[in-house]
């Protein structure tokens, strides 16, 4: 193993790192005297070009296992990295017109550092690397959350996010140390082998519990969700979009690997008449709590970003239902749903980012009569929100259908997981209520000020591409599904 192979296998990450420094230096040295909108456009352009280059590098990658299984590059990781890059591109585009202050270069560089962390997280199959990558992502996101320099809310959100994040990292690290202590390995596959021989021991249960708590914070499931609404609301909206999508995609990916591979021997069951201890049971409780609490709490929200925050807590619950099916269908469903969810949510936050600054806020009332003031973006928002609600023929509908189907399939004789599906579907019906409330403000209510809002064409185009993706994945999910199924089977 020479360092050139490692360097080439880490091509995308290196590319992003270079882009980050180019964006930072260009902005600091060449653009210092220009006005901020101009600097934003230049830095944004550099970043987008770098990201597109990374996509090129990614598509050229060959499967590899590096540094004794620490980092893995295969088709599945490439797909997920592509998703993260696509999300980063969209985040950058919605950031360009967003007033984030005068630290332009720093903003884009930090965003890219976060993205690098996510890419590493997707590749990592070793405890320490996973932890380092997770911290790289998290620390970048804490900084980005605080980027609304003048706004107290942004500062408060960042501190809260940081505190919760730090504690969750401590939990994670603690769990990992136990895991290492018991199994004597840090590689996920070796841990799995060790657990197969030792079986479930009390210390392993503690390790599992702590690791699930740690990831529970990262993906914001109940009862570890408390930071999410505040962080989502306080952060600059493009950052919210990035937290809600990119970091979740990466976290869910690594969590899936963790539970399915490493803790494969401690599955337990979550069947309604037959609960046995294991991670599926724990996930089932978190799933139910998230679906119920997330959806019910979303009903009473007045702020669009908070509403979407609670909705994303509920969505994490739906994803857990697929995850705890612990089958090929279930894992495929989880991956499919995570991708659709990320695309949809990024689009939704993108519309909020584009409009909220122009109407002076992101309360529901600020969106009154938006269908008249910004008809195109309102139409896109309609697509995104209905996809979140699970209305056909959009991606969110099919994703949810497939998740629930996987759960029923797991035990199709006694319908052991049907109880989770019933709760999930009932809560979906609840969720339609608050999604419609949001759409009602945009489509039914009269605007106080009927002036048309102009948004830049590249922003509209980028969001339209996201919406087209959501519609396409709903109308023709089969290609992506086939691809994911094949790769999951090999996992």
């Amino acid at each position: 193993m020479n360092y050139l192979t490692v360097f080439r296998a880490l091509g995308p990450e290196v590319m992003l790192l270079v882009t980050a420094f180019v964006a930072l230096t260009c902005d600091l040295i060449l653009q210092h005297h220009r006005d901020i909108p101009h600097r934003m456009r230049v830095a944004g352009l550099i970043t987008v070009v770098g990201l597109l280059g990374t996509i090129l590098v990614l598509t050229q990658q060959t499967p590899a296992v590096l540094l004794g299984g620490t980092l893995v590059v295969n088709a599945l990781t490439v797909i997920f990295k592509l998703v993260v890059i696509a999300l980063t591109v969209l985040t950058v585009i919605i950031s360009i017109d967003y007033p984030i202050g005068r630290h332009v270069g720093e903003y884009f560089a930090t965003l890219l550092f976060g993205a690098i962390g996510m890419l590493l997280l997707i590749s990592a199959e070793e405890l320490i690397t996973i932890f380092v990558a997770l911290e790289l992502t998290s620390l970048s996101l804490y900084i980005l959350t605080a980027f609304h320099k003048g706004a107290l809310k942004s500062q408060e959100a960042a501190v809260k996010y940081f505190m919760f994040g730090a504690i969750s990292s401590a939990f994670l690290l603690f769990g990992m140390s136990y895991l290492y202590g018991v199994t004597g390995a840090t590689n996920l596959n070796e841990i799995a082998a060790a657990i197969q021989t030792t079986g479930s021991t009390p210390l392993l249960v503690v390790a599992l519990l702590f690791i699930l708590v740690g990831f529970g914070f990262k993906v914001a499931v109940v009862p570890f969700h408390l930071w999410a609404p505040d962080a989502y609301e306080g952060a600059p909206t493009p950052v919210t979009a990035f937290i809600a999508t990119g970091s979740k995609v990466a976290s869910f990916f690594v969590l899936t690997k963790f539970v399915l591979i490493s803790f494969g021997g401690m599955q337990g069951t979550a069947f309604w008449c037959h609960l046995t201890p294991g991670w599926t049971m724990l996930l089932a409780f978190m799933a139910v709590a998230s679906m119920v609490l997330g959806n019910l709490a979303a009903i009473v929200q007045h702020n669009v970003k908070r509403l979407l925050a609670y909705s994303s807590i509920a969505h994490a619950g739906y994803i857990f239902v697929g995850l705890l099916a612990a089958s090929v269908t279930g894992t495929t469903a989880v991956f499919f749903y995570v991708i659709v969810y990320a695309l949809t949510n990024l689009g939704a936050f993108g519309v909020v980012a584009a409009l909220s600054e122009k109407v002076g806020g992101d309360e529901l009332e600020h969106f009154d009569g938006m269908a008249k003031r910004a008809p195109f973006l309102s139409l896109l928002m309609l697509i995104f929100v209905l996809s979140l609600a699970g209305v056909p023929p959009l991606g969110g509908f099919f994703g949810k259908f497939y998740l629930f189907m996987a759960a029923v399939e797991r035990d199709s004789v006694n319908f052991g997981l049907l109880w989770l599906v019933i709760i999930g579907i009932a809560m979906s019906a609840v969720s339609l209520y608050y999604y419609l409330i949001l759409l009602k403000h945009m489509y039914v209510h009269k605007a106080r000020n009927e002036e048309r809002l102009k948004t830049p064409a590249y922003l509209n185009a980028a969001l339209a591409v996201a919406a087209a993706g959501v519609v396409y994945l709903g109308l023709n999910p089969q290609p992506l599904l086939t691809l994911l199924t094949n790769l999951v089977e090999r996992m």
């Binding site: 579907i425 209520y433 759409l439 086939t482």
Partner: protein, 503 residues
């Protein structure tokens, strides 16, 4: 031209309307109208071709298209037509065209209105033709959302409440269907959602017994099944005219059609188990709907509750599981679709849009002010009462005969409602169109000079689109009433093929 083009034409029309400039209101209206006429034409051509075919050969399904869609689920894009869904497809086409004509006076956000309207129409075509359970579900849910916006934006009387209630009822109903469909899919273990395949291999009886009610009630919610009917009156009243027409005329039939095509066809044992419960619930709906209609003060609520009552006939006919009753039920779907559309058009468009009130106490004497509305209501009302010569008579008498074969008590209960129906229709007719003398007597107290033959109303006349649309609907009632075999033959031939049906 294949029958599924009705679906695509509607969606394309919705897209076209979206692209037109928002101020070109007449252009938008004409585009919508042409879309509606084109989709109706496609449906009618296919209808008569099928009708000719069925006379020449045995009845059965006409496959329209059947290609793999989502192979991971075993779901095909499978559309087909037969004597059961073709009358409903044609009904949807007629309600679409007349609905657009009755919406000619909408001035606010015309573009969005017709875009939502045509999306809804396209989805409804899809539900009627889908022969794949997953596809049917997709179209069914797609039909829910446009209704919300149409009612919440262009409606009246508590529109946001009515719209939300309707949508949540539908969505909860479809959630029940969803659970039932998943359970049935895995219990069958065939790895397919194809309705015909699933019907060939019914699942184990003990599962059918609990899956059937889930799916039947899930669809039944939308069919106005008692006691889940409460969305119907509020939704109908809140909706703008075209949407009331569509809701009562077509959307309620989606529910009944789903009960027939998904619940009854796939779960014969479950159906047998719950048949009597459904029949009695239907009779309750028939009598309850009619009785509540009798005491309403709002003209539109009368028609709203009468829909609940008439949809009870549909469910009763289906529950009889004999050829006469089921054929009557399907014909009743068509017939009530036309009648309800006509009556809602009279109340919502001809009267409310002009007088801005629907309170029976405030109306009166409209016979002279709006003679055309009077005659339309008279014809629609008599058809609703089930008088011979109109399609409603042919349909309801068959349901009653079928119900009588099942149990005379059911027939007796349902027949009692016919008297109540006559009472509320005549009462409404009197209060709205006559009753002038009472008002005239009261008028001088307000300082009005009311001469003989003069009306206290000074209303704009009935417009050309309204006349055309009303004449189309009335003609349908009379044609099917006088010459029922145009529809009944194909219905009967296909109902006879229904598994487990009795002669």
């Amino acid at each position: 031209m294949r029958a599924d083009w009705s679906i695509y034409i509607s969606f394309i029309g919705a897209g076209l309307v979206m692209l037109l400039p928002r101020n070109a209101k007449n252009l938008i209206r004409w585009t919508a109208l042409l879309t509606g006429v084109a989709s109706l034409t496609v449906a009618l051509i296919g209808y008569f071709a099928y009708n000719a075919w069925i006379k020449a050969s045995n009845a059965g399904l006409w496959d329209v298209i059947n290609i793999p869609w989502i192979t991971a689920l075993g779901s095909n894009y499978h559309l087909a037509v037969d004597g059961i869904n073709y009358p409903l497809v044609v009904l949807n086409g007629f309600v679409c065209v007349t609905g657009i004509l009755f919406s000619w006076n909408i001035e606010e956000r015309v573009k969005e209105f017709f875009a939502f309207f045509l999306t809804l129409i396209g989805a409804v075509y899809g539900v009627f033709m889908a022969m794949d359970l997953f596809l049917l579900f997709v179209f069914y849910e797609l039909a829910i959302i446009p209704k919300y916006f149409i009612i919440a934006i262009w409606g009246s009387t508590r529109k946001e409440y009515g719209a939300m209630k309707l949508v949540l009822y539908s969505f909860v109903g479809s959630a029940l269907v969803f659970i039932g469909v998943l359970a049935a899919y895995f219990a069958a273990g065939l790895g397919t959602f194809d309705i015909l395949e699933l019907a060939k291999h019914p699942i184990a009886g003990h599962i059918q017994v609990w899956v059937f009610p889930l799916i039947f009630v899930g669809f039944g919610v939308l069919a106005g099944m008692w006691p889940f009917h409460t969305w119907a009156p509020t939704g109908h009243v809140a909706a703008p005219t075209a949407a009331s027409m569509l809701l009562a005329g077509v959307v309620m039939k989606l529910g009944a059609y789903g009960c027939l095509r998904a619940a009854m066809l796939l779960f014969p044992t479950g159906f047998e188990h719950w048949r009597w419960v459904i029949a009695w619930l239907a009779v309750i709906a028939i009598v309850y709907g009619a009785a509540v209609a009798l005491v309403q003060k709002d003209f539109k609520f009368i028609i709203g509750y009468s829909s609940v009552s008439h949809m009870g006939f549909v469910l009763l006919g289906l529950a009889t599981l004999n050829v006469t009753g089921m054929s009557g039920a399907i014909l009743q779907m068509f017939s009530h679709g036309v009648v309800a559309s006509l009556l809602f058009a009279v109340v919502g468009r001809m009267i409310y849009d002009r007088t801005h009130t629907r309170q029976l106490a405030e109306l009166g004497g409209l016979r002279k002010a709006l003679p055309f509305a009077f005659w339309t209501f008279l014809i629609g009302g008599t058809a609703s009462m089930g008088l011979p010569g109109f399609s409603g008579f042919v349909a309801e008498i068959q349901v009653l005969i079928g119900a009588f074969q099942m149990s005379p008590w059911l027939a007796a209960g349902a027949a009692a409602s016919i008297a109540i129906t006559a009472a509320y229709i005549l009462l409404a007719l009197h209060k709205v169109f006559f009753a002038e003398e009472e008002h005239a007597g009261a008028a001088p107290a307000h300082g009005h000079e009311v001469g003989a033959g003069d009306s206290r109303w000074n209303l704009p006349g009935i417009t050309c689109p309204e006349v055309v649309a009303a004449v189309i609907l009335m003609a349908l009632l009379v044609i099917v009433g006088l010459y029922p075999s145009i529809m009944l033959d194909m219905i009967k031939a296909n109902v006879e093929l229904f598994p487990g049906v009795m002669q």
